[in-house]
Point group: C2
Chain length 417, copies 2
């Protein structure tokens, strides 16, 4: 049976533009993986009348309603009360939940539970309780007249924890089929070119399906199969993944990996190698992307942000003649920066980025968007020049960072840099 | 007259969870500043039947409908057609717009305009045209039966450009009043404490209003006044800003500034000073935050990401005895790192971060969440110890980065670090 879901986010802060509705995105992606169609997102404020209206509209057009927000202890947290009224459910105090909340306060927050938190332990009679290991508001699910209602908390961290732990297993039970996805990651080809190369094959596929998603500066392909078992689904996915690899070639850099930095981390770990960074126009972004990953210290030694030209010579040892003759944004300087950081950190690989992120051209007239990536290795030093054109500063920095990791990835897999 | 708006985002990629609905956030924030209530956000896919349903619901409960997305040239971009059908408007070809699109293709994209882009030049008869200087899809606005309908493109960059340039002036015309806001930025006090201190005053205010927004790791207060002129509104805001400063004290770090890095940049520029960074657990994030700002090179010389202990000694010159005796996560090491980076870069100030971002405690058993911030200055070296508790890695890194800038900010304004 095919299900249709609507996601209702409750919170005035969303309507004021204080935060983006990232919860709807996270839930949508999860439901898409579970094979559940999402046709609507709705956002309402902390207002029971309008929430009631949203529920009345939603239950007519969807059979799974997922709400986020409004489960807190204060007077304006009215999701549970409003849903129970709309669906004729009785709200009752769950004593065991109350004890959990009290224990959470004492153990994690080191304060006694305020009395108004008692309201958080009130849940619909006979519901499936979703406990909240990272906060105080429990969630729940119940069925009424063929409609499943799931209530999740609003804080993204709590919502996502409860989604993975409780809501996904609950929803998976509603469907007999197993759904398995593979994310095939590419860098170096635009979404329209990827589409064009795969369009004919993709258009006729119903199971497995293959969809493209443009991530910032790269393209992710998601292959999804439905089958009676995970093994059967995986067997269906293998030829699709192979087809993508055969069609797109070496722009494919990995499967089920979060991005190029993680792909590089895996390759470096396999080879027992370390790297270091020397950055100018990316200003620390290349370093930040790898150190955001747990375990980065096994492959990443450190780096230098040589923003001023003096720092390039004093810290990285870039020769004065190179800076004077070719300027800081040049192939020669990129090479010397990569070699310099490799030297001072003792890493196996040194990767460098120097370019013009804008808003203005550099002093020598190198235009915005020109970036050189250097890579110093035991076999010699390589360089890639990229021209991203006149874009916004943060975009140039983002693209250049991906290019830096792509150079590392291609070197480590024996491809031309 | 008070207006009520609904934002309808059109795009299957939103329902698949491929992207978050950041357009709704940006538009909501803008409308909030204009004094227009937003009571609903709706998201529908590229499906004319469901978009029609959304429009029918929205026009009954709001008098301003703002759509984003579905203005592209391809077969699934159906927003204009569906809206015109729903509101009985005629879609006609605007020849001057067609010439604009053709010119954009040739000048910016260096290719002739594909013929299917002709559809983008079709707009409702008699509408107000919103031209698109950064893309090909023009937007528009019309009024029908007391409801204003504004269509904006989906790509966030194009949407925001058109919002500022056309939609905001159009909406401002609907109201005679001028609305002026001031963002008062604070760091170092939780949202609930800020609320508690200001609650009594805030609760009774209607014009100007004062609202708190929890940004990641800090609290922003927005004071908003409506008046007949900008001068009158500003005069009304001055005492509110003063009240906030008097009540919250030196946790207020600035007004109308994007964050602590920009506040520090302004202070350093005023004083003609430069700084440099030495980072361990933040892995380049402190450097990245300042270099993300245009003009950072006037105050930021560069930095070192000393992820491995060897890099701390070899590049920053942290004495071996300090590393052996106190360990890399210690006040002594933070001080030496700050002094080291100040030395090698020649900056006026050196700021350092060393701590445990997790997921595991460090080798010496320093627990996750402990971070030391060092600041080397011409007057000596300072250190702040922070304990963020056991949180997610990216949160600890984010909080530590803000603490680093807060230390710089407090030093530069003569406050105790």
């Amino acid at each position: 049976m095919s299900h249709t879901a609507e996601i209702i986010a409750v919170g005035t802060e969303l309507l004021l533009g204080n935060i983006a509705n990232t919860n709807a995105q996270v839930i949508s992606e999860s439901l898409s993986t579970l094979g559940i169609n999402v046709f609507w997102h709705t956002v309402v404020g902390d207002n029971p009348r309008r929430l009631k209206e949203a529920l009345d509209i939603a239950r007519r057009r969807a059979d799974i309603l997922i709400t986020t927000g409004g489960l807190g202890p204060t007077y304006d947290d009215l999701t549970k009360q409003t849903i129970c009224e709309a669906f004729g459910q009785k709200l009752i105090l769950h004593r065991d939940i109350l004890e959990d909340i009290r224990a959470f306060y004492e153990a994690a927050l080191h304060v006694p539970m305020p009395e108004n938190n008692t309201r958080q332990a009130e849940l619909p009679e006979g519901c499936t309780v979703f406990d909240n290991p990272v906060g105080t508001a429990p969630g729940c699910a119940f069925q009424c007249g063929g409609v499943h209602v799931l209530m999740l908390p609003g804080p993204p961290h709590e919502m996502e924890t409860m989604l993975r732990r409780h809501a996904e297993p609950y929803l998976r039970e509603l469907s007999r089929e197993v759904i398995v996805s593979r994310d095939i990651m590419t860098f170096g080809m635009g979404e329209s070119s990827v589409d064009e190369l795969l369009h004919e094959r993709m258009a006729h596929m119903t199971n497995p399906t293959l969809a493209t998603y443009a991530k910032p500066y790269e393209v992710r392909l998601r292959a999804t199969a439905k089958a009676e078992s995970a093994e059967a689904a995986e067997a269906m996915l293998a030829p699709v993944c192979q087809l993508v690899r055969d069609t797109l070639g070496d722009v494919v850099y990995g499967t089920d990996v979060s991005g190029l930095p993680e792909a590089c981390m895996r390759l470096l770990l396999e080879r027992g190698m370390t790297f270091a960074t020397a950055e100018s126009c990316t200003g620390g972004l290349v370093a930040e992307k790898i150190t955001a990953l747990p375990g980065a210290s096994r492959v990443y030694r450190g780096g230098v942000v040589s923003y001023w030209t003096d720092v390039k010579s004093a810290v990285l040892g870039v020769p004065r003649e190179i800076l004077d003759t070719y300027g800081p944004v040049s192939e020669e300087c990129a090479r010397a920066m990569a070699e310099g950081v490799r030297n001072i950190t003792g890493a196996d690989l040194g990767v460098s980025v120097t370019g013009v992120a804008g808003p203005d051209a550099d002093e020598r007239g190198v235009p915005v968007g020109i970036v050189y990536i250097g890579l110093a290795t035991p076999e010699g030093t390589f360089c890639r020049k990229m021209d991203s054109g006149r874009r916004r500063r943060d975009r140039i920095q983002g693209i250049a960072t991906n290019h830096a990791y792509d150079v590392v990835r291609r070197y480590l897999t024996g491809l031309p840099v």
